[in-house]
Symmetry: C2
Subunit: 302 residues, 2 copies
């Protein structure tokens, strides 16, 4: 399907995509570049990439598919570095969790060459970052959101769809705006709350003692707080308007719950919790991975 994949950023997301395409027999050769030479070295030693490039531009040269897998704060600089080799024959994608900022940077830097860029957000990952944790099955059963622009070349959107489908992902299309609004609610807000909750619990005089008593409920609730700090700093900053809007909504709901707790209104508190618990119990994550909901229901809670 592809002759050469160029990866810019040989972290977990980029390396896993390279392995997945290789395992699927869809790419003959992978050229990779990372800002840190030791990351590129690791990726090469692990067989994630075949050739270590010395620059982002060198990873693009000769590639017919390029995945830019860097934190959103670094994307504009990458676009500038590779601009001269962005042509309509090559599919360019990113993996950022926000899309408006990425699309704005692409428009600004790539100008008319933006037609080659298919913005992509794989709803996948794990806390263990780096090439060392690359997993050819990372995207299996996950969802990929593509947010093509009106001028994006349809044949490249088609190629992107085929590539992600081939590695086991389900492809959805949205506008960058709708994407960012939705993920502020279901991903960025929860991360913000998890970072704040873990910090708040840990940073009190008896914090360590408390943490030593925490059970599986706390473990799962705060799991996302172990995400890559640079990635999440950039996501929260990049999508800050939507994130702050969702945080404001959340505060109103928390206010209402605290108010009924303070007033001792057992019935009202019961109603609020019943509605939340029933909605959560009836919600099931969309996934084409068989058994993923069964796994969840087996998990114990605190």
């Amino acid at each position: 399907m592809f002759n050469q994949l160029g990866i810019i950023g040989c972290g977990l997301m980029g390396s896993s995509f390279a392995l997945a395409l290789k395992h699927a027999g869809l790419v003959a050769r992978v050229v990779g570049y990372s800002k840190s030479p030791s990351t590129t070295d690791t990726a090469k030693k692990l067989g994630v990439i075949d050739v270590a490039a010395e620059s982002a531009l060198q990873a693009v040269a000769g590639s017919d598919i390029v995945l830019i897998a860097v934190p959103v704060g670094a994307i504009e600089e990458i676009f500038k570095a590779i601009r001269q080799l962005v042509t309509p024959e090559v599919l360019f994608m990113d993996v950022c969790s926000t899309k408006r900022d990425v699309v704005d940077a692409a428009r600004r830097v790539l100008k008319e060459r933006v037609v080659s860029f298919v913005p992509a957000h794989p709803v996948a990952g794990r806390e263990l970052a780096g090439a060392i944790n690359a997993d050819a099955r990372l995207y299996q059963g996950s969802r990929i959101i593509l947010t093509p622009l009106p001028q994006t070349l349809p044949e490249l959107v088609q190629k992107a769809t085929e590539a992600w489908s081939a590695v086991g992902a389900q492809v959805l299309k949205m506008t960058p705006h709708d994407h960012d609004a939705a993920f502020a609610a279901v991903s960025h807000l929860p991360h913000l709350l998890a970072f704040a909750c873990f910090t708040s619990v840990a940073n009190q005089p008896a914090g360590d003692d408390y943490l030593s008593l925490a059970g599986p409920g706390f473990r799962d609730f705060t799991r996302i707080a172990a995400g890559d700090p640079v990635v999440w700093r950039d996501i929260l900053m990049s999508n800050r308007e939507e994130v702050l809007r969702q945080s404001q909504r959340f505060r109103h709901t928390l206010d209402a719950m605290e108010q009924v707790i303070k007033s001792g209104n057992v019935e009202a508190l019961g109603n609020l919790i019943r509605v939340a618990a029933s909605a959560r119990a009836n919600w099931h994550m969309n996934s084409n991975k068989p058994g993923s909901e069964r796994e969840e229901s087996k998990l114990p809670r605190a």
Copy 2:
């Protein structure tokens, strides 16, 4: 070890304890009572209990160990119902997630008979409630916090320790006050936040669309929001001072994070997140269940 176990409340916690004691060969006979006759019927049909009692008092009659497994809001009423059969020869325990309220009610109702009561909080459970989900292994690898009073009979504390150890749990002892302060931080606050977050996300015009896009990070973060509504209403109300204190702390941390996001201070946001992520990544849940941390690290995130 015991001749007869009396269970008051044949839900998940009580039924699982009965099954676990039976499987360990530590009890000859189980008598169970539930407010709802259909729950008692289910427990009997599933072999969780051998005899269905028609009142809480009847479940105590002839038992040498009694587990009161009802929501904390119902505990005082149960103490009143069984008071006359509370004697120093019988071990009485509860399973409530708050301990000060329970201990206060025990003192108030049982008076000098409170010596027979060993307050217990098993840090275990799951979202699937009811006798139908009873699991003899529910307590394996979990922690049980006992909060005995100065006057609690030491031989009953010893018996309680042996019973919980026999079903695979690790027993810890704390004061009711320290217990409630700690669990407000690592359990009650996260539940409050999870209820509020799920409600806030779901209750917006595009809520259903957003929920359809949520990934495994959101699933795990909100898992505890599917907890039993009556149980959690009672816990949050019972421990409201500590819960509100923790919520106040949390809000200060959230304020600080929002402030740096609003001000566009990328470096400060990065520092806050790095500290949180590093602390969470280095935190490992205490558990005597082999492999429980390995399971966690395999979970994908959104």
